[in-house]
């Protein structure tokens, strides 16, 4: 008997716990030649904003040890074009579509939520709160429990769709932020967005990214992400989508053991465009090899004895 890979998160039924991480998979279309999109647990689209955004100048990426930096700068064509151009394609794929949104102000998020609520076939909205809040002097929403609470609460009132809040790791206490999100009505949290990083070219003395900073992703950050998933899973009763260096089934198992109900694959899509599919197959094999019936039996099953202070 095949093991059961299905999970439920934020009220959405997924046939398996494997999603794409926002921004690394476009809207799926570009991967359609290589990936049987129907097999995915869900597709999380690239962040969309109210108005089109040009994004940052190139170079926008660079490779780092077991990771990469990116500073795409939220380039997107805006919600209107998204609904018009991408949603019809996404609907046809037939897997849950999670739309990731961002804004400069709470009102942007609210407006985006309203617009998406009437589209149909949006399974959930993921709030990218790693972006600077223009009104709060450019501090990212996701860095302060108060700001998170405000934006999530406002979105909660604006839409009946499930709300997933995607948290930034660039904080002292991710649990505090997650708690604020849950308190304000988040149905699930995604952990983690990229870690802010920088790399400098020793020849030119310039940053390797035109924008100076960028977000670090890939296997390098996996231990950080697993830790944050575990911290949130221990303290709060909220479904978690784990991400940050997930490349194969064993990585996914690590996140699931730490407490994630689902995982998202980001950077790994670049070296292996079929990473998601390979992961789903590998997860099934993992369960079969261990005689387990359901992936749900793995969630949060890490055996923690000690948890000594580290320093």
């Amino acid at each position: 008997m095949k093991p059961d890979l299905s999970v439920e998160i934020a009220g959405i039924q997924l046939k398996n716990p494997v999603m794409t991480a926002s921004g690394t998979f476009g809207c799926g279309r570009e991967y359609a030649d290589l990936v049987d999109l129907k097999k995915l647990g869900a597709i999380v689209a690239k962040t969309v904003t109210l108005e089109p955004r040009k994004g940052n100048p190139p170079p926008r990426i660079c490779e780092t040890p077991s990771g990469m930096l990116n500073a795409i700068g939220l380039q997107n064509e805006g919600i209107d074009r998204f609904i018009e151009k991408e949603m019809p394609f996404l609907k046809k794929v037939g897997v849950p579509v999670i739309v990731n949104i961002a804004g400069d102000a709470v009102s942007d998020y609210v407006e985006l939520c309203r617009r998406l609520s009437s589209v149909g076939d949006v399974a959930a909205i993921e709030l990218n709160v790693s972006c600077p809040n223009v009104k709060a002097g450019g501090i990212a929403f996701g860095m302060h429990p108060g700001l998170v609470s405000e934006v999530v609460g406002a979105c909660r009132r604006a839409t009946g769709l499930p709300l997933i809040v995607k948290l930034t790791p660039n904080v002292g206490s991710v649990v505090g932020i997650a708690r604020a999100a849950v308190g304000a009505g988040a149905d699930a949290v995604s952990l983690i967005n990229t870690v802010i990083g920088m790399s400098i070219d020793h020849n030119t003395f310039q940053p390797r990214l035109a924008s100076g900073f960028g977000g670090l992703s890939g296997p390098a950050i996996r231990p950080i992400a697993v830790r944050m998933v575990w911290e949130v899973a221990r303290e709060l009763d909220v479904p978690i989508i784990g991400m940050g260096g997930v490349g194969d089934a064993l990585d996914a198992v690590e996140f699931i053991l730490a407490g994630a109900t689902a995982v998202a694959v980001g950077t790994a899509n670049f070296i292996n465009p079929r990473a998601t599919i390979d992961l789903i197959d590998g997860l099934e094999e993992f369960l079969i090899a261990r005689g387990m019936d359901s992936v749900r039996d793995l969630v949060g099953k890490v055996k923690m004895d000690g948890s000594s202070p580290t320093c």
């Binding site: 476009g26 290589l34 690239k46 100048p57 190139p58 990116n70 890939g218």
Partner: protein
């Protein structure tokens, strides 16, 4: 849209043309058949877990239906690792990717301008022009004589080939762009195709514009997905950012907004 393949391609041949410059022949009927001049493959270099990104290389030549070549220079970790593959190893390749040089059906004459390893995609193009009976001239620039890769291939395929070397060891002493006015006047090309360092491309673009000749150039950007999904590889164009991996790597020269 054309199909994109991801496959393990066997290394059928490997040549070190000069120290640090390699030509590798890869077996793949799919890619070889689908490939068009100007397209590229995205290659997973090296076995280390710390290679997070593939590396893009132009399709250099298509060989008898089921194989193709890339020609590359070792410049960093990825190309170094790739240069260490051995015969019959398998290389993880994604492609063919990107758009291609546009060859109008009625094209009758062209000029190719190559700088350094920018020659790579132009050989495939030269082959194609030749088989379509498009008469072409070419200017190939390099730092020194031994870096005039495939010069003899160009000779065989084209009408007249001008070499330039920065050290004067072959052809004109100077840069490819030194000869461009003269060769345009001589050959009156309907179209110019170019690949090489960005500084060179800009000069070629300017000259083409001055002569009112259509010009296509192939550009390089750091790439993650290679598929148009991640928006890593943007080029500034008159219509805003466009993707080198999907809208390019070949652009009409007048579209591009060059850095000052």
């Amino acid at each position: 849209m054309n199909a994109i393949y991801r496959l393990q391609a066997e290394v059928l041949n490997k040549e070190e043309l000069i120290p640090g410059v390699f030509r590798i022949k890869l077996f793949s009927e799919e890619i070889s058949r689908a490939a068009k001049p100007g397209q590229f493959v995205h290659v997973a270099c090296g076995k280390g877990r710390d290679f997070i990104l593939r590396r893009p290389f132009s399709i250099h030549r298509r060989l008898s239906g089921n194989a193709f070549e890339i020609l590359f220079q070792v410049v960093g970790r990825g190309t170094e690792a790739l240069s260490e593959v051995r015969l019959h190893d398998f290389v993880d390749v994604l492609g063919p990717l990107g758009n291609s040089f546009e060859i109008p059906p009625d094209l009758s004459s062209a000029l190719l301008v190559a700088g350094g390893v920018g020659i790579a995609p132009l050989i495939f193009l030269a082959d194609e022009l030749n088989s379509r009976k498009v008469r072409f001239y070419a200017i190939q620039g390099a730092t020194t004589q031994q870096r005039l890769f495939c010069y003899m291939d160009l000779k065989r395929l084209g009408r007249q080939i001008f070499a330039t070397t920065e050290d004067g060891t072959a052809g004109h002493c100077g840069r490819a762009t030194d000869l461009i006015h003269e060769v345009i006047k001589k050959s009156a090309p309907e179209r110019i195709y170019s690949c090489g360092p960005e500084g060179m491309l800009k000069v070629v673009a300017d000259v083409a514009a001055a002569f009112g000749i259509d010009c296509q150039v192939s550009v390089e950007r750091r790439m993650a997905c290679g598929l148009g999904a991640c928006l890593s590889c943007v080029c500034q164009t008159r219509d805003g950012y466009r993707l080198a991996c999907k809208d390019g790597p070949v652009f009409r020269a007048e579209e591009l907004s060059w850095k000052a």
